[in-house]
């Protein structure tokens, strides 16, 4: 498949949303090696999708952070004891 065909086939959109089949993903990943522009196009599409996701950011309840930091500190302490 040519670069243009890849771009117009819709496979990039399926790939970045996690909806590409295994065969489609493999085909695209192989093509990325042949066409570096394809990789750029995929990354650009991914960034846009991530921007859409970021627009839906919501601040979590504040108590979670302290709880997590304590858990992480406990784990570190346990590792150091060993």
């Amino acid at each position: 498949m040519s670069l243009e065909r890849f771009i117009s086939s819709g496979i990039i959109e399926l790939y970045v949303t996690g909806m590409a089949s295994e065969a489609e993903a493999k085909e695209l990943e192989a093509a990325m090696v042949a066409y570096p522009e394809l990789e750029k196009e995929i990354e650009s599409c991914r960034r846009d999708l991530e921007q859409y996701v970021s627009l839906q950011a919501i601040t979590p309840p504040p108590a979670i952070k302290d709880h997590l930091l304590r858990m992480v500190a406990d784990e570190t302490a346990k590792c150091e004891k060993r």
């Binding site: 921007q51 996701v53 997590l68």
Partner: protein, 182 residues
């Protein structure tokens, strides 16, 4: 919007892999709203999303050494962990619920109703979402947030597989055009 970065991406990665708690705290401050947004969209319940968010950050902390910068940005990696963890939470809950329902009625659990309800607290977001039609939002959300396959989406929406592909492509093209205007 985002406070100016005091760490470069490489420093963040290095700090995370070295189990630097300050870096972890920084990552939490900067990325927890985006990751919590993902968890909420997937599980559609605040209590479950809070549990999922803790699980997500513990996974980020515990599996830091598995992150490979050659395979994508740190944010992409964290988003994938968030999405997969939340989807797993949802599936295991649905499974448990399903078992309970079967015990009770010996019936099958219906696929939960699709919700496109948003907590729109962002001007840019409402502008984008208003201009994406419901059909386009549903298909992006089913794929990205619910982890549905093409077949599952075709069955759920009762449309041919080919239509799933073209609809997804058009939805993403429309989304990308809209994002250029934000």
């Amino acid at each position: 919007m985002r406070p100016s970065l005091t760490y470069t991406e490489a420093e963040l990665v290095q700090g995370l892999k070295a189990r630097d708690e300050k870096v972890f705290s920084y990552l939490y401050d900067h990325y927890s709203p985006a990751l919590y947004g993902v968890a909420l969209k997937v599980v559609n319940d605040e209590n479950i999303a809070v549990d999922a968010l803790q699980e997500i950050f513990l996974k980020i902390w515990r599996s830091a050494e598995r992150y490979d910068p050659d395979k994508g940005r740190l944010f992409t990696w964290m988003l994938n962990i968030a999405r997969n963890t939340a989807i797993d939470t949802l599936r295991s809950r649905a499974h448990k619920l399903d078992q309970k329902m079967q015990e009770l009625s010996n019936g099958t659990l219906q696929w939960e109703k699709l919700s496109v309800q948003q907590s729109v607290d962002h001007l840019g977001l409402s502008k984008v979402l208003d201009q994406l039609n419901k059909e386009q939002r549903v298909i992006i959300d089913l794929a990205y947030y619910r982890g549905c396959t093409q077949d599952e989406i075709a069955k759920l929406l009762d449309i041919p597989l080919g239509t799933v592909k073209t609809r997804m492509r058009n939805a993403i093209i429309q989304l990308r055009n809209l994002l250029k205007q934000v």
